[in-house]
Symmetry: C2
DNA sequence: AAATCTATATACAGACCTGTATATATATAC
DNA sequence: GTATATATATACAGGTCTGTATATAGATTT
């Protein structure tokens, strides 16, 4: 990928998260990225396409990072599930944390017909499925059910942290997750 | 309150939820409400003031409804806590459900200095405090901790339902809530 | 050296946005 | 019947937005 294109993606991602998607104009994006609108519209046909690529990139980066962390730190499936929230807490409390892309995007584009909303919804589903995979490997009966519950805790905590930095919500989400996981492992 | 003013509030609330706040112009609001901009700006000095009043109204309506439901159906504090998610599920799965105002608003106005964001954050805190009150009455040790966990489940499930209607997320949130509540009551 | 590719600079069309100004209608109160 | 309060109708100023058109600069290739 072109250097300029990835620069635009990084800058747009940051601005979307800190100022909101609809409140961020392409003029602002190119100004911060140090380029011009002509270049932006060379790489992205429309602003919507830029939004979609920003979301894809963010989701892919997050999933890769999380997957790497889990695989390089533990091998036992049940441990992966337990460690999941440790890494998520690390991510959420890091100074670079700007929120979860698909959560904000779905709020700004509430219409279910909208492509941005649809992608957000799909990414949320994929994340849930990833957790469900971990639960399955750990031989949990209702893997989908536990995955949904854990993702609710996750999304709720991210939401809380987006609302108020340093809320400490993830600490309690972790405790709740442990109770739910232990319960599911026992049965 | 004037009939027109409350009509504007109702219409604005619906449009904000279904199309997004920033994507909804005052022209659209007055057209749907069957009035004119002059009248809107008589009752609300700016659009931001309208947004704030819509949020306040929505939060008050929800809290009143929830409180009435709880008080008219059960008296025992521990039961109230258990029934909480039953009523919330009823609310979320009702056809009129349009999402939780403060969740969407905080996403559209991510800047913590913004008055709309601040009000959203405050409403989220108030709701958590309300649950904490129920937990305290039920003699739960770490009432604030449990309240935070339950609110994470709540906000996560609302988020999930906003993303995809009929997700069934609240059903699993309820199960998780029961486990957490029972655990807290036992200790 | 000429051609081509990439990026810049700048201006602008057309749409939409908030908020206001002006003029008019309608209904109630005195 | 006149005054007052409330709502309508309409137009517009000034700003921002997306997306495009036009002209130019620098760099690489042939």
């Amino acid at each position: 990928m072109s250097l300029l294109k990835s620069k635009i993606l990084v800058v747009a991602s940051d601005l979307f998260q800190t100022r909101g998607i609809n409140s961020t104009g392409v003029d602002t994006i190119v100004a911060v990225a140090g380029t011009t609108k002509m270049t932006l519209y060379k790489y992205f046909r429309t602003k919507e396409e830029l939004i979609l690529e920003v979301l894809k990139q963010g989701h892919q980066d997050f999933q890769s990072w999380l997957n790497d962390q889990l695989n390089s730190n533990t091998k036992k499936p049940s441990e992966k599930l337990q460690k999941l929230f440790d890494f998520i807490e690390e991510w959420v409390t890091s100074p670079n944390f700007r929120g979860m892309g698909f959560i904000k995007a779905s709020a700004e584009f509430p219409n279910e017909e909208n492509p941005v909303h649809q992608l957000s919804s799909e990414q949320s589903r994929q994340f849930r499925q990833y957790i469900s995979g971990l639960a399955s490997e750990a031989n949990i009966q209702d893997a989908d059910g536990l995955a949904l519950q854990l993702s609710l805790l996750f999304e709720g905590a991210v939401q809380a942290e987006q609302m108020k930095r340093g809320s400490g919500a993830m600490k309690y989400a972790k405790k709740a997750a442990k109770i739910l996981i232990d319960g599911a492992l026992a049965s």
